[in-house]
Point group: C2
Chain length 417, copies 2
């Protein structure tokens, strides 16, 4: 197997070298061919997906996961449309980020260049195969994909189509490669391709991210684990607080920018909690409250929150609720349990907003808006490869620019030091 990975790595590096000098026009033409190939091979892709779905159903996969796995003609069309949207984005490569002339006459240009070879490890949804490949290609990178076991046939059919599209466009098909093996050993070997893979982006749950952080020797960008909080300050507008909390929790509980814990300032808790709890209840959300929360709500359906609740990323219609004595206590709670993803304060106090945004250490900190906005599209990046929750290289939604690095190009006329 490591022989296969080595061969794939060499292929990816060769493809990356030729892609690095491809123009935006050439890359866009390749993306168009990839989109067309997906549509032309719709039947084969759907057949492969049916086989995956049948095996998964037989294996007892839950209905919501089955839905994420399943493709339809509309979903294949959506994947092709997604590739065309990426083609329409501006090419980040070649941008002169900064530069100038030094006193000794050296002319320094800090220039944006592709990363090289990007590795993506992901879970059930097969559309990630085409989304990630398109973004990597537009940024001039080759990509090595390692999808989930359940979607292997679907991913392989999609990758075959994308590679056929690359060939039709006269590009090296090894710019997009899928590892045809979903064993843990192979994933671990992939994480250790130092010098071959320039950056590894795991997209999935906390378990996957942890495994990558533990095992990888290649640089990793951690993504998408979100234990996000809404803090309702003493100076909050109550109807705004309720609307934001309900939206952040219940508009799409399965995503990483959904809120998991509600923190309420003690001075406003008795007024605020009944209003917010009614909204959450109407949206089908179960609450787990601290002692004071349960006192105020006086509702047997509100279970007592435990230490685990503060740390939980439910990704479900469940929310933990805690009354805190101060903004500082809210900040401390977030520092202790947050994952550095998205945090929100609802307040009309300028001082409270300033203190919260300064002290909370997260990729995105909101004043009076739902955490659900942490998203490449919502932030105006066009599309995203993931949401970084670490601090190196990229933080928050990662678009095309985050799939590049820089190179200093220095022009002289014989300077020595």
């Amino acid at each position: 197997m490591s022989e296969l990975l080595e061969r794939m790595g060499a292929g990816a590096r060769a493809a990356a070298r030729s892609l690095a000098s491809a123009t935006a026009g050439e890359k866009n033409a390749a993306l168009e061919c990839m989109a067309r190939a997906l549509l032309e091979r719709e039947e084969a892709i759907l057949a492969a997906n049916r086989a995956d779905a049948e095996a998964a159903a037989a294996g007892g996969m839950t209905k919501s996961l089955l839905d994420r796995l399943s493709l339809s003609p509309a979903r294949v069309a959506g994947m092709a449309a997604g590739i065309r949207e990426v083609a329409a984005l501006a090419d980040p490569v070649g941008e002169i980020v900064e530069g100038g002339r030094r006193p000794n006459g050296l002319r320094i240009q800090k220039t944006r260049v592709p990363l090289g070879v990007v590795g993506i490890i992901y879970e059930a949804r097969p559309n990630v195969t085409s989304d990630a490949a398109a973004l990597c290609l537009k940024a001039g990178n080759a990509v090595i994909l390692r999808g989930g076991k359940e979607a292997l046939r679907s991913n392989a059919a999609i990758a075959d189509a994308l590679r056929a599209g690359l060939e039709a466009a006269g590009q090296n098909p090894d710019a997009v490669q899928l590892i045809p093996d979903t064993s843990r050993e192979t994933a671990n070997a992939m994480m250790r391709l130092h010098g071959v893979i320039d950056v590894l982006i795991p997209r999935g749950g906390a378990g996957l991210i942890r495994a990558v952080v533990e095992n990888a020797t290649v640089p990793v960008i951690e993504t998408g684990v979100g234990n996000c909080h809404i803090y309702v300050d003493r100076a909050a507008d109550l109807s705004m607080a309720a609307a934001i909390t309900v939206n952040a929790k219940a508009s799409r509980p399965s995503v990483c920018n959904a809120a998991e814990t509600l923190l309420v300032h003690a001075d406003i808790a008795a007024q605020a909690l009944p209003v917010i709890a009614r909204g959450l209840k109407d949206a089908g959300v179960q609450l787990r409250g601290c002692e004071r929360t349960r006192e105020i709500l006086n509702d047997p359906a509100v279970l007592p929150a435990t230490e685990e609740d503060w740390a939980a990323e439910y990704l479900d219609y469940i929310m933990a609720v805690r009354v805190v004595p101060s903004l500082e206590a809210a900040v401390d709670h977030i520092a202790a349990y947050g994952t550095g993803h998205s945090e929100c304060i609802v307040t009309d106090s300028h001082a409270a907003a300033e203190a919260f945004t300064a002290r909370v250490d997260a990729a995105a900190v909101y004043v009076n808006a739902s955490t659900r906005f942490t998203d490449g599209g919502e932030f105006g990046l066009g599309a995203e490869i993931g949401i970084s929750t670490q601090k190196l290289h990229a933080r928050g939604p990662m678009g095309l620019r985050e799939l590049t690095t820089v190179k200093y190009i220095v022009y002289g006329d014989g300077q020595v030091r």
Copy 2:
């Protein structure tokens, strides 16, 4: 030991939290106190250093390493002056990197913030203790330092002085902490403080970097391993080629931006090699040549180069020399053996310069200038914490800005999605 590291980590995180909101004025005042404390404690620092130097000499340390280890009143004054230079640099924290208003009215500000806690693992030179601490502090970070065994007493005396300076300035002294133990186990434990250390920067030789990449679970920035090349193109000016090669190799062979291998286009080799080789010989450089090089130079002092020579970072007065049939072959050689640090082409051909700068994948690519310019000061960054040879976050010389990350601050008036 892991209890000590845990306590140090908690102290660093607390110090980082308070530093994150410190103004440039407060940080500069702290740096001034740190510089003064170094000068006030000069005697204690020199005494500790003498003990280190005596033990190292007794242990058989080489003269050049002993020189790097040894402090003098002038070197202590240099360390204090270095801290004051960092204080004079602009504060990167708080810069609004970009921002704007979204169609839904959300106002997004991408703001520069400190990384948090920086870990530095370094080898013999004790001045790194104060240089690294000053840069980290100015960027609003707490730092955990782990120096080499030989310099432990010196580093401890310097760290004590810096901490006293912090206290005198009313700052949390845990912003600068030195691990009082140089065992490998402790270093390995430090590399695995995920969630405590935000970024680990190893400064040292290839062995240290490899150990960190192998063991770390915290994000790492690889630095400073430089197998740098000078490629003399067929269209090169020969005296310029000789001057640049001699400077890149011999002006300071022990540093990472020194050149290690000379590549010469076959069409010009017979004219170029004798000129360049004379310059190198005069500078005391021994050559290891490919077969064609040895034919041309016809000098028994030029030993045959082996595969190891192409990969070697000599850091000494030795240079490998290879005649290549084309620019492409030079690019391929660099791709095979280079470390992504600094690479140079000497040419008067515009097309060759364009091809070389586009195809060589390194932090800094030079046209007609010595690789020795890859340096924070030379690039105008003011000071550097290291030279990144990886592609994530920072590439090339890292200054204050590379010791920061960003945070999205999003202002709304009740937006939900």
